[in-house]
Every structure is written in C-alpha cells, then in structure tokens.
C-alpha cells in the first residue's frame, strides 16, 4: 500500500472501499484473498487433525463431527479455488499489473472494476455467513452433485446449501465483470508501439484466463439457477422422478470445472515466465511458443470435461473419446513446461527468493501434471477416481499455482506494490520450510490413495483395508508436515508485515527488469505514469548483444 495508505479518517471509506484506482482494487483483492487463504488453511488444519487423530479434540476448534467434517472439506475446496486462487492470481495481479504493464493510467472501466470487487466481497461474506445458519455450512463437496445438494432432506443443510450456491454464483458474476476490464484494457489500452507480441506473457495469461472463464462459466450459471430452483421452488431439473437428470449438473459443472483449473494455471504460468526471464537474464525461450501452447491448452480444455465422470454413469464409449482428448492436453502443457526449462539455458541465474519460487513451481507442478495422466487414462482412473491419489494430484497442481506461483509473484512485485524490499534471508527460510513441508504433506497422500483411501472420509475405522497398520502413520505424517508448514507461514506473514514499514526502500527498478511497471516509482502514484510511455520492443530483451547493459526496457528509445 502506498504512503497515502496510512491516512485515517473520513477519507478512508472513499479511498479504500469506494476506490476506483486499479492498484487499490488489486490490494483489496489481495488482502481478501490472503485472509481467505488463512481461513481455508485453517480448515485444512482442522480436518487433517481429525484424519490423524480421529474424534479427538482439535486445538483451536474442538471435536469434529462427521457433518462438520464434510462442511470443512467442502468449504476448504471452494474457498481455496474461488476465493484464493482466482482473486489473488487473476484479480489482484491482473488488476495491479495490466495497466502498468501495458502502459496506461488505469483500467478502461474503473467503476465496473469497483463493482466487481464489491460483488466479490459480498460473495465472500455470504459464504462465510453460511457457517452461522441453522444446519451449518454446506457439506456436499465443492462439486455439489445433486440430488444431495438439491434437497435439504438429503444434505441436512438446506440453508447452507443455498447460501453456498448464491455465494458461488456471485463470485462468478464478479469475475465476469472483472474480465471485461482485463480483456478490454489489454486490447485497447496499450501504449503506442506495443504490438500483440510485445505484451508481457503475464498480461496475456490473465486475458486468456478471463476468456476461458467467460466461455466456460455461462452454462454453469444457468445450471446454478436451476439448482437453486430445485432447492427452493420445487422444480426437478436434476430430479429423475420429475423428469430431470442428476448427470446434467455434472456435465455443466465439469464443462466449467475443467477449464477452471487452467484459468488459474495460466496466470501462474504468466508470473513464472516474468520471474524466470528476469532472474536468468534471458529472453523467454520462444515467446510465441508459450502463447500458442497457452491457446492450445485453452481450446483443448473445453473438450476434456468428462474425464471427471468416467465412472459416473456416462456411456462407456464416451470415456474413450475423453481419454484421447485428456492425454492430448498434456502435449501443450508439456511443451510450455519444456520452454520454461529451456529458458534457463545460457542464462545467468540469480537465485533470489522470487526465482526460487518460480523454479520450485516448475519442479512441483510437473509432479502434479504427470500424476494427472494416471487419471486421464480411463482404465486406471477406475481405481484412482475419488481416492487420495486424486487428492494428491490436484494439490500438486493447485498448491504450486495458488501458493508457490503466488509467492513468486508477491516477492517479485512486492517492491513495486509497497515501495519496500522484502527481507531475503527470511524469504529463503520461508521458501525452504514451505517447499520441504509441502512435499511431506502430499507425497504420503499418493501412497494412501494407491492403497485405496477414498476421499471425503471422516474416519477410516469402518474400512478394514484402510485400517491396516502403516496407513495411519502416513496420514499422521501428512498432518505433522502441515503443522510444520503452518509454522513457516508465520515467517512469511512477519516478513510481509514488517517490511511494509521497516523494509529497505525500493528503487523504481530493483531487479533491472524490462517491463513498463518498473519504469515508474515504487509504489506507482495515482495515474501511474508521469508521462505515458511509448514502447519500442518486446518485454524480454535481456543479454542483448552489443549493449552495455544486460537489459533493455521496453520504453527506452534505441
């Protein structure tokens, strides 16, 4: 937050809750996302404690009942995806960076931007309030399959279920509104001279993510209204006895749900691209390849959805089609990853904290990606579907995206956002603690999954095969590692807050980077540029031969 941030008084409301400045809106999203991350992380702590020590008192929470367990898991999943990954990766970074990176003074529609955050904030309030209503928060999983989600008689949380649905729908609206600005500002608000291929990859990725989101979410919005009617007005869109079909929801949900995972993947990839090239002082290996593979991922992501439904009762012949498309999507993703690795070739790599995070992203995401192949192959998914192997798969993709890439981005842009440098030593302690702990959390879960642990289970006592000795040790290992993980997050929070006031003052361009946001003071003033820039070259001209400096800002006349 800029120095103005510390003014209190009547101006506060106008400035921070009614602000239209893209940087302030970005901070609103960032801080809301961080608070939600802490809430979602706390839920993970509670239910992991329950899994390690069934039915015992969880410090800070109490005894977990089966119904509460389901609510916690559901809310954890929903929060982490919709209220952490999306707001932080797309809305916070997108809002902060797009106007700065394309060289203009604000978003094209600042008031729509403000509305977007307000709707988003409201959605978060509705979601959290559902914990307080009669029956408690919704516990039918983040996928909310009807008839369970459609009827209070089945889920026992009639109010919670509707509130969950309303909150999610509002969140969708917020991101549809936000998408307007990301796309329009990038297309139309670019600085003179900035051609399509001069746009930083980060900006492209946010734009692509917004487009993917917009195309995939429409049917689900309609579907959510139908589910709401089923819950509250007695219709039977998903009820077979009234002529409906429960599988309809699954199709609508996954038609959105699968593209959604790439909606968060792409901005994470964008952050990593920026950080990699700056700290290896290298041009991105094949800018166009990255862009084309991102488009490829986007297009393919619309035709793989039923790989979540191989055994859900769809026509088994369909599974073959979706196996093919699912495996095909590994090609552009693999290519993108290879390009990132190749970027290091010939570089001069500086292992700063942001760079460590970016490299760790690649290393960890590959594990998550290849584990997806086991699930994409229909026949092996018969076994792995809804086991902890799947849980480990998506945490090895989501965790790198929602935390590792975010930490890369935060540590990299922190000087620009707040005008201060973070402490490197604390940053590295946090990095190593987090990376080691997170692998110790999720590798055991691959094993328990392979041994048959099914997901969303309160206690395995009922299942003799799952109660075998050894498996409980693995579950406890994961929980202990989570405790270690949480302990290291305090290092981050301390570093973050302490540096806000005590950190070394940041210059305009501390990392010697090329993109336009580094040409303005840190933090950027209202209106960003004293004089709006003109762009002469692409964003990744590092180590250009025949130049004294190894970097070449986009706006420097040649």
């Amino acid at each position: 937050m800029s120095t103005q941030a510390h003014q209190a008084g009547a101006g506060f409301f106008r400035k921070y809750l009614w602000a239209t400045d893209h940087k302030i809106i970005a901070m609103q999203y960032l801080f809301t996302g961080m608070i939600m991350a802490i809430i979602g992380g706390f839920m993970a702590y509670v239910f992991r404690m329950q899994l390690a020590f069934p039915s015992q008192h969880v410090p800070g929470y109490g005894v977990v009942s089966p119904g509460e367990y389901n609510s916690l898991v559901t809310m954890h999943g929903t929060i982490m995806i919709f209220w952490v990954a999306m707001p932080v990766l797309i809305a916070a970074f997108g809002n902060f960076l797009i106007p700065l990176m394309v060289g203009c003074d604000d978003m094209a529609f600042p008031r729509i931007n403000r509305l977007s955050f307000q709707v988003f904030f409201l959605s978060a309030v509705v979601l959290l309030a559902s914990f307080l209503v009669k029956g408690g928060a919704f516990g039918g999983a983040w996928t909310a399959y009807p008839p369970l989600s459609a009827s209070g008689a089945y889920n026992l949380e009639p109010i919670g279920a509707s509130m969950w649905l309303v909150a999610v729908a509002l969140e969708f609206v917020a991101f549809l509104l936000g998408g307007i600005n990301f796309v329009v500002t990038t297309l139309n608000g670019r600085a003179p001279g900035m051609k399509m291929y001069d746009i930083p990859i980060m900006v492209w990725m946010v734009v692509l993510a917004s487009i993917l989101f917009m195309f995939s979410v429409g049917p689900l919005i309609a579907g959510a209204v139908m589910l709401f009617f089923d819950q509250n007005l007695g219709t039977g869109f998903y009820n077979p006895t009234q002529g409906g079909d429960p599988l309809l929801w699954q199709h609508l949900f996954w038609f959105f749900g699968h593209p959604e995972v790439y909606v968060v993947l792409l901005p994470a990839m964008g952050i990593v691209a920026e950080v990699l090239s700056v700290f290896s002082r290298k041009k991105l290996f094949g800018y166009k390849t990255v862009l084309h593979t991102a488009w490829g991922v986007g297009v393919l992501s619309f035709v793989v959805w039923a790989h979540h439904q191989f055994v859900a009762g769809i026509d088994p012949r369909m599974a073959n089609v979706f196996t093919i498309t699912t495996l095909l999507i590994s090609i552009p993703v693999a290519e993108m990853v290879f390009v990132y690795i190749a970027t290091l070739y010939g570089g001069s790599i500086r292992l700063t904290t942001p760079m460590l995070w970016a490299l760790a992203f690649i290393a960890e995401f590959m594990i998550g990606g290849v584990s997806g192949i086991f699930l994409g192959a229909s026949a092996s998914d018969i076994y792995f579907h809804d086991t902890y192997f799947l849980v480990a798969h998506f945490h090895y993709t989501f965790f790198p995206i929602a935390f590792i890439a975010v930490f890369a981005g935060l540590t990299y842009w922190y000087p620009k956002m707040f005008g201060r440098m973070l402490n490197e030593t604390l940053g590295k302690i946090h990095f190593w603690g987090t990376i080691i702990a997170v692998n110790v959390i999720f590798i055991p879960l691959f094993i328990t999954g392979a041994a048959g642990d099914q997901r969303r289970i309160y206690s395995y006592a009922q299942f003799s095969e799952q109660a075998r000795p050894g498996l409980q040790d693995l579950r406890m290992t994961a929980t202990f590692a989570l405790l270690v993980f949480i302990a290291f997050q305090f290092v981050f929070l301390f570093n973050f807050l302490w540096s806000l006031r005590r950190g070394k003052r940041a210059e305009a361009n501390p990392w010697l980077a090329n993109t336009l946001e580094w040409t303005v003071p840190s933090p950027p003033p209202h209106g960003n540029f004293a004089e709006l820039p003109t762009v002469y070259r692409g964003p990744y001209e590092y180590g250009s031969p025949g130049r004294e400096l190894d970097y070449w800002p986009q706006n420097a006349p040649s």
Binding site: P99, G218, L220, G236, G244
Partner: protein
C-alpha cells in the same frame, strides 16, 4: 470522476464500448447456450413433454416474435441516426424500440397469467420448469434492455454519448435472436 485515458484509447481500432458489448453478449450466449442445450437434450429424452408444450399459446408467441423483429428494425434506424449525428432522432427511435419491449412484456404477462390460472406453474413438471425459466430469463433481458435503452435515449436526445446507441442496439438484436431460438423450441416443437 475523470475518465482515465485508458477508456479513450483504442489500440485495436475497435471502439472500447463496442468491445465491451461484445464481451457481454458472448457471455450471455454461453449462458443461454448452456440452458438451451440442456433443454434440448431433455426434450429429446422426453417425448411426452410435447403434450405439455401443446398448452402454450403459439399466437401470442408469434405476435411477440413479430414485435421484437420490428423493434430491432427501429434499433437499426436509431443507430443510423446516431451515426449521422442526429441525437434527438436516435432518441425517438430508441423510445420506439423500448415501446416494442413494453408490448412484448405485456403480451407475455397476459400469457403467463392465463397459463398459471390453468394450473401450470414453475414446478408443474419438466417442460414447465424449463419454459418458465428460459422464457423468464429472456424476459428479464428484455426488461433490462429497455431500461438501459431509455437511459441512453435521455443522453442521446442531448447529443451526448452517441456511441452508446449502437451498443444498446447490438444488445437488443442479441435479445431478439435469442427469442428466435426460444420461440420454436418452446412453443412450436412437438
């Protein structure tokens, strides 16, 4: 509030306002697209819904189709007038278009009152659930469109923000085209 420079830039050459309109229309197409696809799949699986569909009033629906098509024409004329810089004339055509919307909604209200009197409500079975939901969502779009149109007309009459005339017109055509899909699917298909 001062407008940022970003709002007036146009690096692609496409006016910003038009880009937004297309974005909104595209996202709406996907909402209606998903809905109609769901409806069609169910309809094919339930031939017995034809009996329920027979209770709809094709004449009212047909008349409404005619009304919407005519109003689209006046939206085009409004755009023409705005392009030639004649704000007051554009405003008149916009109000005429909005009138079409009002007629559409009035007919719709009578139709639904009649059907509800006969006992067909939202929860009366698969067909009726889709019928009220799809047509109701469309009617909400008509309502939203005509309110926006009246606001745009106020500005246009003062020769202000004339670029908005085209945008609201585009939106109106979209609402119109959706109806062209709904009408046969809901009223005529047997």
């Amino acid at each position: 509030m001062m407008k940022p420079i970003a709002t007036s830039r146009s690096a692609t050459g496409i006016p910003t306002a038009r880009l937004v309109t297309w974005w909104v229309i595209a996202s709406e197409i996907f909402i209606f697209g998903g809905l109609l696809a769901s409806y069609v799949m169910h309809r094919l699986a339930h031939p017995e819904w034809a009996a329920a569909a027979a209770h709809t009033n094709e004449w009212a629906g047909g008349f409404n189709t005619f009304v919407l098509l005519t109003s689209s024409l006046s939206a085009v004329l409004a755009h023409k007038a705005a392009d030639s810089g004649d704000g007051p004339k554009a405003a008149r055509f916009l109000r005429l278009t909005a009138l079409g919307g009002v007629i559409f909604l009035t007919v719709k209200a009578f139709e639904w009152t009649h059907e509800i009197r006969e006992g067909f409500v939202l929860a009366s079975g698969g067909f009726w659930s889709f019928y009220y939901f799809v047509a109701g969502l469309h009617a909400l779009h008509v309502l939203a469109g005509l309110i926006i149109m009246l606001f745009v007309a106020v500005d246009a009459a003062k020769n202000q923000e004339l670029q908005r005339v085209e945008c609201v017109g585009l939106y109106w055509h979209f609402v119109d085209i959706i109806w062209i899909f709904l009408f046969p699917l809901l009223y005529i298909a047997r």
